[in-house]
Amino acid sequence: MNKPYDVIVVGAGHNGLVNACYLQRSGLNVLVVEKNDWIGGAAVSRELTPGILYSNCSYVCSLFRPEIMRDLELAKHGLQIIAYEGGAVFKQDGDFLASYRNHHAHRREFARHAPRDGEAYERYARDVTRQCRFIQPLLMRTAPDPASLKPRDLGEMLFLLKKFNELTAREMADTIRFWTMSISDFLDEYFEAEVIKAYLAISGIIGTALGPMSPGTAYVLLHHYMGEVDGNVGAWGYARGGMGAITRALSSSFLASGGTILTDAQVSKVLVRNGRTTGVVLENGDEHLATTVVSNADVKRTFLKLVEEPELPGDFVRQVRNFKMRGSSGKVNIALDSLPEFPALPKGSPCIRGDMHFTDTVERMERGYDDWKAGTWSADPFLDMMIPTTIDPTMAPPGQHFMSCFVQYCPPKIRNADWTDADRDAFGQTVINQIADYSPGFKDRIIHMEVRTPRELEAEVGLTEGNIFQGELTFDQLLFNRPIPGYAQYRSPIAGLYICGSSTHPGGGVMGAPGRNAAIEIMRDLKRNASHASPAHEIL
């Protein structure tokens, strides 16, 4: 019989680790159990071919909360986020749209494609920033339960209403419109040039099984922009050493504070007795006891697989079943023996060091989504392609490169049948062909590649249906509705069982906020001092 722990965290994704770090630092004895023999979940970097490190899932850091980096001393444990420059959309006519860090260069480049769009960008950026400033303070707070009369819930509800009340009538209208609009309609109100709209629509569809013309996608854009608004210089960029550097630093911080991690330890059941959790049992039969169990796995995996159904209220189970996952994305990681060339780009262009894309109209994006609806991957997919090794010297030997391609759309099943290896390879080929169209000799540079469809993401990371955010970020599944109305505060119907992954408020992305917020709730329940969780930075 193993000695009991105070807390067991199921899953060593970044949220599980953030949660474990805060709890361990409050004096609790915490065990993290991870099914894979590596840690990180979707924030992971693995060397699958000698000398070259991939960011196998997530690839850019935009949301990770700086408060968490400071509280958990992640800089001391080796984490560095480095800013990058550039970005481009390659057009079918041989031209391209560049994105520059310099304000005037950016404006002039936009104006090159449509004279008024250069200035329209400033309007657009202002309006989006205004929306971010409104929503961002909600990230680092537990969402209120609108049905509760507890003083804290009333207080939080009041905070929400007060924030809303501070808006002018026009802003309120804008905000409601923004939360419900399609990104395509939203962009049409600002821009003329198709390629500019295609570029800016990207953030509205990433990780979502919606097309740029589906209502609600404007909000998704906000979710991706939110990390930047409070002047956190250096919070946006590549994690030096890949996204796995984030979870490596977290685990190092956790171990240094006395925590324990078990890998290759898949939990098969959460133990429940008399409506209370008592620990977990692993696939190999080992039992670990604790009166508090925190699941980093998504809400479906947690409540439909790890907990016996009779332990849960029927209505709750039904709502968990209804929670929308709907994977929409794939990932192709490529090791290259040399830097690819893109003849469209002028010599010396910084664009190659940023995010690159080949979808030059919103229409093409929407067509790609049509394929997803028909149950197959996009024949003309949308790529978010980056080469982190153009600025990160730690991921490949000099001259060689890691190229990360995030791909949409890619369904959880192929016409209702499971993915086959042949499907997966054909999907990978579709992606490679698209790149090669714009980069002569590209295929000859490839040393190795890893193709990941929702099947691989589910099997390996445990993301149900391969949804990268542990559940869609649509407005019906946010705030006090994430994941389930009445259970948005990281607790569950089972006493002592909590959830802390991206399925919970404020949602997906390598942000750390769900893990931290959940830790604060748990410390409150266990009457622990939580003063080591510093309050969210103010937005002035």
């Binding site: 006519d93 005037h104 003849p343």
Partner: protein, 401 residues
């Protein structure tokens, strides 16, 4: 699909800061090498000595490059109607060959910018301003037969300001003896296609010259050559800023926040809140922001006012907090200098409208002296703008100082 190589037009990252047509001439004179960014152009802060540059404005003649100023060409049969819809003042009263200092607002009556409107003939105008407004102008132009085009980079501009400027121009073969303030004349053909107007940002006798870009260098050389005997000096923004504060002029996004750039919805201002109430012509047909301005006047909902302050002592109060009775915070100084001509400590400030006439105003100045702050609480009096009034500014024909 073709894989053609990119054109040089898209290499904006190489030179994000553009050069004005006078860049090389200014650079050759510059000993301080102190540039700043003006709307995407490199502009001189100081050429060689800010104090001497200031006294050139007030005692001889000063040449300041205004090419980076954002310029829109507005023309067509409906140009007057369109501009009347856009701006606060009555454009039908602006005669051909004259300039109007004006401002324009969004539908909430919040100021988008102020600037100067040049009318060359019935249907041809130029709007000069600080911020860029193409989307706003094009949206407003929707129903009018009018063409709006940015021409900032095509038109070179020079401000020639100071007591000897008229004499200098006469020497240079440009007759301005009959030119009244805000009047425009065509430049002699030999100097290129362009105009001269009796306008400026210094509150002194002065002119502004605009020519097509290719004539810019020759115009500069021509003025420079005739400037030797008239004490001409090239100046940077530092000197100009002192003169413009003395003259009581405001600068968008320095003395007020324009409504298209503000992130915080309570920052933009109505014309009445920044001292531009006199521009608003409620007798003309609809214009952008009219209803909101009327409503605010009816409900007396003006929150702030922009005032001139005279502050005791000689320590500039730039960005100081304004207090009532030394305790209640009621505003902020947006621009504060020691005026070399008036010999007074002057400032522009945004102040809570309830204290518009109030006395008992104070400013808190933090004066840093060798790494120690002197915290000063100084009495401030609301005074008339401009802080200095020079008769030579409006005298026609101009004096030969």
């Amino acid at each position: 699909m073709s894989m053609k190589a990119a054109g040089a037009a898209s290499e904006f990252w190489r030179n994000p800061q553009w050069k004005s047509p006078f860049h090389d001439r200014i650079e050759a004179l510059m000993t301080e090498r102190h540039w700043y960014d003006w709307a995407g152009y490199a502009a001189p802060e100081i050429i060689d000595d800010a104090e001497l540059e200031y006294f050139a404005i007030r005692s001889t003649a000063a040449l300041f490059d205004i090419s980076p100023m954002v310029k829109y060409s507005i023309s067509g049969p409906d140009a007057e109607q369109f501009l009347n819809h856009l701006t606060l003042r009555d454009v039908s009263k602006l005669k051909a060959g004259r300039v109007q200092y004006t401002a324009w607002c969004d539908d909430d009556g919040q100021v988008l910018d102020d600037g100067t409107l040049f009318r060359f003939d019935d249907s041809t105008f130029r709007l000069c301003c600080q911020e860029r407004h193409l989307p706003w102008l094009m949206d407003t132009a929707f129903d009018y037969d009018v063409t709006v085009r940015e021409e900032t980079d095509e038109i070179a501009g020079l401000a020639l300001q100071g007591p000897t400027s008229a004499a200098l121009l006469r020497d240079a073969g440009i007759d301005v003896s009959g030119l009244k303030p805000f009047q425009i004349a065509v430049l002699p053909k030999s100097l290129g296609r362009g105009h001269i107007s009796r306008t400026g940002f210094t509150g002194d006798l002065g002119y502004e010259l605009f020519v097509d870009r290719k004539s810019a260098g020759a115009l500069w050389d021509h003025l420079w050559q005739h400037g030797t005997l008239r004490g001409l000096r090239a100046i940077g923004y530092h000197a100009l800023n002192i003169a413009r504060i003395e003259a009581g002029f405001i600068v968008a996004n320095a003395d007020f926040v324009t409504s298209e750039t503000a992130l915080r919805s309570n920052r933009p201002r109505l014309p009445d809140e920044i001292g531009l109430d006199w521009m608003v012509d409620l007798t003309k047909p609809h214009f952008n922001g009219k209803r909101a301005i009327e409503r605010s006047r009816q409900s007396k909902s003006r929150r702030e006012v922009l005032v001139g302050l005279e502050i005791e002592g000689n320590e500039p109060a730039q960005h100081a907090i304004v207090y009532h009775a030394k305790r209640r915070e009621v505003g902020v100084v947006t621009a504060g200098i020691w005026s070399p001509t008036a010999k007074r400590n002057i400032a522009l400030a945004c102040v809570d409208a309830r204290y518009e006439t109030g006395d008992n105003l104070w400013v808190e100045i933090y004066a840093l002296r060798e790494l120690r702050y002197h915290k000063l609480m100084k009495r401030a009096r609301i005074v008339e703008r401009p802080f200095i009034k020079l008769p030579r500014r409006t005298l026609t024909p101009p004096g030969d100082f």
